[in-house]
Symmetry: C2
């Protein structure tokens, strides 16, 4: 439906909001009209927050996670185990793993996964810096924690090949039935893997 906006300023703002992922013209209009009911200061704060983020954001020079300084708060936390590095796609995965409270090592943020369909090759990711990090620092184990998709598997294998000559243990997060899931509804591949990768029952009691 072709919309006629009563104002160029409005049209412009709606078009900008509609560029965000998952936001169509209708939602954009709703968000923009909502902004008109807020104070100019509130809207200024909103607009400035994203401009400031984009202009002033840093990436940790160790793990490439987003941070405000040169090195992120995780990499600069000396109580964490620097010999254990968890390889993730993006900052969201860092946050998800941090929320579990189960990981006390450091991270390495690739910035995506190898996806020829989206034009993302190994050169676009922080893989070279990972190899250097493993070579120059005392990294004993890397944990692959990428998506369990074809792209994730491809990236896992690429990293495995790149690191295979080095003195480092390469592990991958367990794949199996989600906690709370019913076996009946689990997909066959996951169920098959969960049987192959079965763990000692006594060990599972400790968790």
């Amino acid at each position: 439906m072709l919309q006629k906006y009563p104002s160029v300023l409005l049209e412009n703002a709606v078009n900008e909001f509609a560029k965000l992922p998952g936001i169509g013209k209708k939602t954009a209009l709703r968000l923009v009209l909502h902004s008109l009911r807020r104070t100019p200061e509130e809207v200024e704060n909103f607009g400035r927050s994203i401009i400031n983020l984009r202009n002033e954001i840093n990436y940790c020079k160790v793990c490439h996670n987003i941070c405000d300084d040169e090195v992120c708060h995780i990499c600069s936390d000396f109580s964490r185990d620097a010999s254990l590095v968890c390889i993730v796609e993006n900052i969201k995965e860092v946050m998800a793993i941090e929320n579990t409270g189960q990981f006390k090592g450091l991270y390495h943020v690739l910035g995506g996964i190898i996806s020829p369909m989206d034009g993302v090759g190994p050169g676009d990711l922080q893989i070279e810096s990972l190899v250097q990090r493993v070579q120059s620092e005392n990294v004993k184990e890397v944990i692959l924690a990428l998506s369990t998709t074809m792209e994730g598997d491809t990236t896992n294998f690429y990293i495995y090949r790149k690191l295979s000559g080095l003195d480092v243990k390469i592990s991958i997060i367990a794949r199996g039935i989600s906690v709370g899931d019913e076996i009946e509804y689990a997909d066959e591949i996951t169920l098959g893997r969960s049987i192959i990768n079965r763990t000692n029952f006594k060990d599972s009691l400790k968790l």
Copy 2:
């Protein structure tokens, strides 16, 4: 879930996005991270568009619709019938009615409806200016086109009382079965109204 953000700038931007209606912390984070993959110019344009809109927007001094100038493009269109005024809640309804291409009169945007629950009283709406407009200009008919809710009905009745002493015809948009709807599934009140407000079959053929 308490999230720990790796950056204050990021946290600030996520909180600002999460203030928008219908957007939670998770969606906010997704939108903010998407912005990091855009160029600084694109993000600047996005942020500026909403700040500019809020700071520079005007409201038409005749109908109170959003516009860039003093009088909106509808009110300043002399080919339209200024004696016919359609009363609507907000700019979205103006756009919806304009899209039908069926209305050639002018509008009067109330800026909401009477809703004691939300603390919106008659004084918060453009009702006094409507009365003045009907008194001072050559308005022959007003059409009430508010939501068919209790709040809409209350507002309709309030406006009706305010205008009842004046020489103006007060009509209301037809309520009935939606075009394309099956009678079987229509709610009883709508179906009842559609029978009471039945129209001449021959007249309906003209549409």
